[in-house]
C-alpha cells in the first residue's frame, strides 16, 4: 500500500539529489539541471498533497502547472545568461564567474 509518505519521501530524495547537483557541480548548465530536478521534486509533493488531502479539487495540479511555467521561463533566461557569459569568457565553469569579486 502506497501512502502519502512514500510520495513525500520520493520528492524529498529527488530534491536532495537536485540540491547536491546544484551545490557540487562546476558547469553552470549542470547546476541548472540540478535546479530543474528540485523543481520537479516540489511538483511531485504538490500533486501528492492534492491527491491525498483534497482529491475533489485540482488546486495542487494548477499550482504545479504554474511551477512548470516559471521553470520554463527560468531555464530560458538562465541558459541565455550562460551562453552570453560563455561568449565573453569562453568558460561555463561557475568558479570563473568572478567579475563581482574583489
Amino acid at each position: 500500500m502506497i501512502t502519502l509518505n512514500h510520495y513525500l519521501a520520493l520528492g524529498g530524495m529527488l530534491f536532495c539529489i537536485g540540491l547536491y547537483g546544484a551545490l557540487a557541480k562546476k558547469n553552470a548548465i549542470a547546476i541548472l539541471m540540478g535546479i530543474e530536478l528540485m523543481l520537479n521534486a516540489v511538483n511531485i509533493n504538490l500533486v501528492a498533497f492534492n491527491h491525498y488531502l483534497e482529491p475533489s479539487k485540482v488546486v495542487g495540479q494548477v499550482f504545479a502547472i504554474f511551477v512548470i511555467v516559471v521553470a520554463a521561463a527560468e531555464v530560458a533566461v538562465g541558459l541565455a545568461l550562460v551562453l552570453n557569459i560563455y561568449r565573453r569568457r569562453l568558460e561555463s565553469n561557475v568558479d570563473d564567474f568572478n567579475w563581482l569579486k574583489w
Binding site: A9, L19, L23, K25, K26, I29, L37, L53, I68, L83
Partner: protein
C-alpha cells in the same frame, strides 16, 4: 482504478527509475549523458503523475520538460562546449560538504515526514481532469493565468536579448 498491488509495483518501479536516473544526472562526467538521463527522470515523473490521477499534468510534463526544456539544455550544452566532452561535468571543490549537507537534509526530511500526521481525505477526483483545470484557470486563478503570460513574454524578450548578444559577437 488499478488494483493496489499493481499500483504498488508501478510506484516502486518508477521510484527506482527516477532516483537512479537522477543520480546519473548528478554523478556522470559527460554532460550530454547527464542531459539524456534528465529526460529519463522527467518521463518517470510523468508516470508518477499518472499514478496520482493527474493525467493532464503528465502530458504537460512530457510536452514541456521532456520536449522543450530538454532540447534547450542540449543545445546550450552543444553551444558552450570546450575541451574534452567526457570531462565536461566535473565536481567542484566542496562536493564533500555538499554531500554531507544533502544527506543530512534528506534524513531530517524523512524523519519529519514520519513524525507528521496528515488528515487524509477520501473523495472522488473530478471525472474530467482537463476540464477541472480549465475551470480553475479561467475562473478562480485568472489573474495568475494572465501574469504567467506576462512572465513568459518578459522571459522570452530577455532571453532573446541575451542570446542575440552572443550572435552579434560572432
Amino acid at each position: 482504478m488499478l488494483s493496489t498491488s499493481t499500483s504498488t509495483l508501478v510506484f516502486w518501479f518508477l521510484t527506482i527509475l527516477i532516483v537512479a536516473s537522477a543520480l546519473a544526472v548528478v554523478l556522470l562526467r559527460n554532460i550530454v549523458h547527464s542531459a539524456l538521463f534528465l529526460i529519463l527522470t522527467f518521463v518517470g515523473i510523468a508516470g508518477i503523475y499518472i499514478l496520482l490521477n493527474a493525467e493532464f499534468l503528465a502530458a504537460v510534463q512530457i510536452l514541456v520538460y521532456a520536449g522543450a526544456i530538454a532540447i534547450l539544455v542540449v543545445f546550450a550544452v552543444m553551444l558552450t562546449r570546450r575541451g574534452d566532452i567526457s570531462e565536461s561535468n566535473l565536481f567542484n571543490k566542496n562536493y564533500l560538504a555538499a554531500g554531507v549537507l544533502c544527506l543530512a537534509l534528506f534524513i531530517l526530511n524523512t524523519f519529519l515526514i514520519g513524525q507528521t500526521f496528515w488528515t487524509i481525505k477520501s473523495g472522488e477526483p473530478p471525472l474530467n481532469n482537463v476540464g477541472a483545470i480549465a475551470d480553475a484557470f479561467l475562473g478562480r486563478y485568472v489573474l495568475p493565468f494572465e501574469v504567467a503570460a506576462v512572465l513568459l513574454l518578459v522571459a522570452m524578450v530577455g532571453a532573446i536579448l541575451l542570446a542575440r548578444g552572443v550572435n552579434q559577437d560572432q
